[in-house]
């Protein structure tokens, strides 16, 4: 199935953007401004739809004219490109969008042709599928792990690296005990948040070179 690689679904949606005769609203511009204002870290709406690995929203103004002798042509509408890579199945993902991040969905797709709103999640799903373009070829480097599995592994990696450093050269019995503690802490640690603030790091640690 071209849209899928392993457990990962690659959704590509092209939603035509509304044109307007009124000069004070250009849907594409308003949509751009809205997208520019959205947070991109753990407070992103897509962090909430936590099965999302990577997602993008792009206002595509037109096709590209590559130069003579190619023919110059133009789209009659602008399109919103929504590309997302997520765990699991399409219906569940679209339902999560409708239910968990209605503000984003409304704010974005209200600018698009034929958007039915979220009163009926099934209508929304049908609408999105009408805008779906079949992926011709999908490449996924890691296609068998969920977002949570990846984040947890990264958390473990970071903790183990610090553990190795702190216990280098220590007597075996002490290391063994500390290792037991590490395992317990890792098992009990809350799931790391997707989208990019590792709560153990401070802003200063993020830029050590500025000291």
């Amino acid at each position: 199935m071209a849209n899928q690689s392993g457990h990962i679904y690659g959704l590509t949606i092209l939603s035509p953007i509304l044109e307007s005769n009124r000069l004070d609203i250009c849907h594409a511009t308003e949509l751009r401004w809205y997208l520019a204002s959205l947070p991109r870290n753990h407070t992103s709406p897509f962090a909430q739809v936590s099965s999302t690995h990577f997602a993008r929203l792009v206002v595509m103004d037109d096709v590209v004219f590559v130069g003579a002798p190619a023919r110059e042509e133009h789209l009659k509408s602008r399109y919103l490109v929504f590309e997302t890579n997520f765990d699991g199945d399409l219906n569940r993902y679209l339902t999560r969008m409708a239910v968990e991040i209605p503000e984003l969905v409304n704010s974005v797709w209200k600018h698009c042709v034929g958007y039915p709103g979220l009163a009926d999640p099934n209508a929304f799903i049908a609408y999105m599928k009408k805008c779906q373009i079949e992926t011709t070829f999908f490449f996924a480097d890691v296609n068998d792990k969920t977002v949570q599995q990846n984040l947890k592994a990264l958390q473990v990696q970071s903790a183990l690296s610090r553990f190795v450093e702190r216990n280098q050269g220590k007597p075996a019995s002490e290391v063994q005990k500390s290792f037991g503690v590490l395992l317990k802490r890792l098992a009990e640690a809350p799931d790391p948040l997707p989208g990019g603030i590792d709560s153990e790091k401070t802003a200063a640690e993020d830029r050590p070179y500025d000291r």
Partner: protein, 198 residues
């Protein structure tokens, strides 16, 4: 607008294709999909999280309302959407250096594609057909795909070691721990911020 989130870069490119060439490209992608070993070089480069090619025929742009004008296009279009690690220049340099025949097989059907070698006209073409991302989300911005894979390998090894680690004698633990560290030693790289884009 930004194409970058953490260590990932969101590239979007659209190129026109004469309609008769589209089935040829579909054929190539079909073969690529059917024979994973052909993707080996792509995997070995190890700097793409997810990438997709989407062919959209001239009459396939979604049309949802009578009031939306119908598109009247001559060309089919190939849309390329990539989530990769590294800078724009680094990415294209690497592809041009080691995957040029694969790139050519995909993009030679697009109008005015200059070939992927030499690299300067190739970069000009990409710059021309690339369009900017308005919003980009990355669930693990501090991790490149190498970091993710390293972490998964490490975690798997840890889970294995964890099964017996507390039941061994200290001497046995010492040996087993050393073996465990030797197993994961290439997977201990730190995660963090990416170098600035160039």
């Amino acid at each position: 607008m930004t194409n970058i989130n953490g260590k990932a870069y969101a590239m979007n490119a659209i190129t026109p294709m004469k309609s008769w060439k589209t089935p040829v490209l579909r054929g190539f992608f079909f073969i690529l999909g059917a024979f994973p070993f052909l993707q080996a070089s792509l995997k070995n480069l190890s700097f793409i999280h997810f990438a997709r090619w989407v062919i959209i025929r001239h009459d396939q742009f979604p049309h949802l309302s009578a009031r939306q004008p119908l598109e009247d296009l001559h060309y089919d279009y190939l849309i390329f959407l990539s989530n990769f690690n590294g800078t724009w220049n680094q990415y294209i340099d690497a592809f041009s250096a080691v995957l040029s025949s694969g790139l050519n097989a995909i993009w030679r059907w697009s109008e005015k594609f200059p070939g992927s070698v030499p690299v300067t006209p190739f970069k000009s073409y990409i710059a021309q057909v690339q369009f900017e991302t308005d919003y980009y989300y990355n669930a693990y911005p501090r991790a490149a795909t190498n970091d993710v894979k390293a972490a998964l390998r490490l975690q798997s090894a840890l889970n294995n070691f964890a099964k017996t680690s507390q039941t061994l004698s200290p001497a046995e633990f010492e040996t087993a721990y050393l073996e465990f560290i030797a197993q994961v030693q290439a997977d201990l790289g730190s995660t963090g911020m990416a170098p600035v884009g160039t």
